[in-house]
Subunit: 566 residues, 2 copies
């Protein structure tokens, strides 16, 4: 199986699943086009994801733009921290991803979480060389390289914009409006399927590490004190787990979702989604023998995530991340709450009103307005926060707040600070977020690779994709044995009828039947229906139905064909 | 109806159809997010388009990246010519789209095709002012502003890439591979639904002039000498046409597709697609009284198009372009054939082999290779072209060709030029392209605006969207009168059953029934089903079915509900 990648890529190019884009101009690494078969397969996988992760769970889907303005990514942390480590060869000037260089050439399995200094040290210790020209990289500086694609919005110098590196931010940033659609009630989930972009230092061939890709993400907003996942739904689903303490050993543990939660191996919300994902992957044809859930190492985990697991699929001995399941806590919404003017909280009603002492301020806008102009609202917000967190500050003559990096002093008598006894019917909380995030292209690729087989039929070598009916581009192919004597018309009629009944159908009347079967085998069509001379002779009329996997043929009455196929 | 735009935008924001993106950070003009209702409406419209323009016509859909490398746009002409005219106010520094300034403030209806000089002249003649600060713009230079968003691919200075300004180029550039999937047979059609980007100088509010948008495009590749559209399919469809010679008069002519072709008003291939489009627009709910096809003026037409018509919809007295239908000829494929190394032709077999004199060259690659390195292939190609077009040049000692702007001289004896009598079985032709191109967001907007109505029900004002069932986000809403006494369970059961039967269903048990009806009216749900106390008493069980448009209610047996709804 060592050449599976090569074989899948050859078949994909030849049959129209996917191929390098703009090859007429030499192509650019990291950009792939889905051909007719691949685009259908991809759409089917997306639609299946939508059913499983959005519709059936009662979540709702949105579509946000892919270009977003700079303040969003300042708040989210991407502008400052969404980097990969790069090292430039002093000789051939190749740019190399430094952590990958380390992983590929040392016994270290995961280097992504290391600092640039540590990576430089390891490179020196092992005297690692440029993967292109073999020049020693010892002593060369390892730098951070921001992975976002930048552009400029508007005429002239415009304002900086970035292609989103994850679809998630398009959801987070609209939370103040989305919570209204959910009538301010937790929990609720928002999904999005769309493009995301990362300016990878060294993209790989194929769909695994590309610069433009499709994500399917779910942001499930919950009240961490109240909301529990509906574990009943998935409690018995078995998970093949590769937790941090097993990594390196190659040993897995198998636990049901219920056990994984009870034994504290996986966070309950994460485990819930691992269960749903496991069932889904199986349904769309990922081979469960080449599949696992791997826990993130501490350094590898994003700073906000308290628990994070990847779904990984094995292809040619490599484990490829195809989804991530993160408990992001309140990190994202808190950041946007702090950096923007909007309210990213949910008002949570108490069972009974509660009376307590509370510090309140009513900043004098008649003073703040003229003094701080457009910033006055932000200043007022900061004063409010200060009153809550450090009421003692208001004993002084003036209070200090920081707005947009600027330190401001506001006379205390303009703040109208008071300690009041108040009765509150509830409180504002920032929801927590559970995020299952899927790479659609990588899923397409895994499904293709795991469906690929070479076998021998009647002494002839055959390449076949054992795609599940749920995702295969075509459900039924219809052929006339010959395009004459009325066979063509009859076949067209059957094809039309099947289409009407909701099947995706391909009609093919070129080449000999054997060739047509092979063609359909290679694009994963589960069933072929052939109209031959017997069809017209039989009463009632029959057709030959041929199964892709067994290649067995059966005669079926036309009137019973729809039921037979279902 | 003057405020329709405002009303639709208010409803859209409140109910989750669409709204300005990243408003928490002040937003950026030209970027809109589709909320849960809008995303569903948009997907339904896309799916309906896909059925009509791709599946039913036997065309196939691909998905290409949105970022493409510079050479593609050099070849396509976008790098040099995809400009709008901009004028900068010397006082307030606003950037203003100069042709719009002229259209809005003079009697000129279409200024897009004018030169920058002419626009500057008109501005001076009318002494037009800055629309922001009223400073005179007389004498200020009008400049070209390229509308493509630029970015940089790869680390370091990278290589320039652009966000595609139309999905079409993603199809054209892959033609050499796509023709293989079509087994090198014309005609065939390739479709694509995806994002496109234009850095508009002055985006408008809402979905009409945005910087990031979704296109649904079909590129139908044909042999202009052989292929005829299947006019039978649409011959009787009536088209409301606004040809060039009527423009300004406000008078339309109504012709069937057949008449429009016979009377030479519309190019036959374009007319064919106008017919299909007209039927489709009607089906998805565009109001035919506020719809027309307008022919492009000569100056407005892209340089390659021999005939071009827009579909336009009227909203608040403005006519908005929602689709374009262009006969692009062989322009695009020829450009890519010339600029790239690939073969963008189709080999067209003659009925019988033809014997004729032909000039052939076999350039000496052993000479060209060392001499021109990476360019050798291009040089050879140019020599080949020269031999065909100007065989007399080979009588000289050396021939001259131009490659990538560089003039080269090649000794004739390295070209192996010959005139041979050859028998050919066919010839290479560059296909022509017919392109129906749809703006999906604008279609969504038109469908919403044309579906919007305010009426009065039982003395109460109501806002309602008369969306067609084909595209409405929800087909059926199911309510329990109260969420008690088993009504909720029964309603859930009905909702689940309808979902199983393929209906898109919303379940709602909050607020009084009247409010719930209003909510569904505002998102365009055609039918509401209510489970009440009668339901449990009746035998067989019944529910109340309420029609959105008439607001009439009927009792229907649950067992007959699915058939009733169908």
């Amino acid at each position: 199986m060592n050449n599976l990648t090569k074989k899948v890529s050859e078949l994909s190019k030849r049959r129209g699943f996917f191929f390098q884009s703009s090859e007429a101009y030499g192509g650019v690494a990291g950009f792939q086009t889905f051909g007719p078969e691949g685009a259908e397969l991809k759409r089917n996988i997306e639609e299946s994801w939508r059913n499983t992760f959005s519709r059936e769970l009662g979540h709702r889907e949105i579509q946000a733009p892919t270009i977003m303005p700079e303040p969003v990514f300042k708040a989210s942390g991407h502008l400052d921290g969404f980097d990969d480590m790069i090292i430039e060869c002093p000789e051939c000037k190749s740019s190399i991803r430094a952590d990958h260089l380390v992983e590929d050439n040392t016994e270290i399995e995961e280097a992504e979480g290391f600092s640039t200094e540590k990576i430089a040290e390891i490179i020196a210790d092992h005297d690692l060389e440029c993967s292109n020209c073999e020049t020693s990289l010892t002593g060369i500086e390892v730098e951070d390289f921001n992975l976002m694609f930048e552009t400029s919005i508007g005429p002239g110098n415009g304002q900086p914009g970035y292609l989103r590196p994850e679809t998630a931010q398009g959801i987070f940033v609209e939370f103040p409006r989305l919570k209204e659609y959910a009538r301010n009630q937790l929990p609720f989930g928002i999904t999005q399927i769309g493009k995301a972009y990362r300016n990878e230092i060294s993209p790989r061939k194929g769909l695994v590490r590309v610069r433009e890709f499709t994500q399917a993400e779910l942001e499930h907003f919950i009240d961490p004190d109240e909301d529990e996942p509906n574990l009943d739904k998935v409690q018995d689903v078995e998970l093949k787990l590769y937790p941090v303490d097993k990594q390196g050993s190659g040993e897995y543990i198998t636990k049901t979702v219920e056990e994984a939660v009870e034994e504290d191996i996986v966070h309950n919300w994460v485990a819930y989604y691992l269960g749903i994902a496991k069932k889904w992957y199986k349904e769309i044809g990922v081979d469960m023998d080449r599949f696992r859930f791997r826990q993130h190492q501490k350094g590898e985990r994003a700073h906000y995530a308290t628990d994070c697991w990847d779904a990984e699929a094995e292809i040619d001995g490599d484990w490829i991340e195809i989804a991530g399941f993160a408990y992001r806590g309140c990190y994202d919404l808190t950041k946007h709450h702090e950096h923007s003017r909007e309210d990213f909280t949910i008002f949570k009603e108490y069972d009974e009103p509660v009376t307590k002492e509370k510090t309140v301020v009513q900043p004098d806008m008649g003073y703040l307005g003229p003094e701080y102009g457009g910033k006055a609202q932000k200043v007022a917000k900061k004063i409010g926060e200060l009153a809550q967190n450090s009421p003692e500050e208001f004993e002084k003559e003036a209070v200090n707040v920081e707005v947009d990096g600027e330190k401001l002093e506001i006379p205390t008598d303009k703040c109208n600070f008071e300690v009041k006894e108040v009765t509150e019917s509830g409180e504002h909380i920032i929801p927590h977020v559970v995020e299952p995030s899927f790479g659609v292209g990588r899923t397409v690729y895994t499904v293709l690779a795991h469906a690929y087989e070479e076998d021998e039929i009647d002494g002839e070598e055959r390449r076949v994709l054992h795609l599940s009916r749920e995702v295969s581009p075509t459900e039924v192919a219809v052929f006339p044995l010959m395009d004459k004597d009325g066979l063509g018309d009859k076949a067209q009629e059957i094809a039309a009828k099947l289409r009407e009944k909701g099947f995706s159908v391909k009609y093919d009347d070129t080449g000999n039947i054997g060739k047509r079967y092979r063609r359909q085998d290679e694009v994963g069509t589960p069933v072929c229906v052939t109209v031959d001379y017997e069809t017209l002779e039989d009463s009632p009329e029959t057709v030959t139905v041929r199964d892709r996997d067994s290649t067995e043929q059966e005669r079926v009455e036309i009137s019973k064909l729809v039921d037979y196929l279902r």
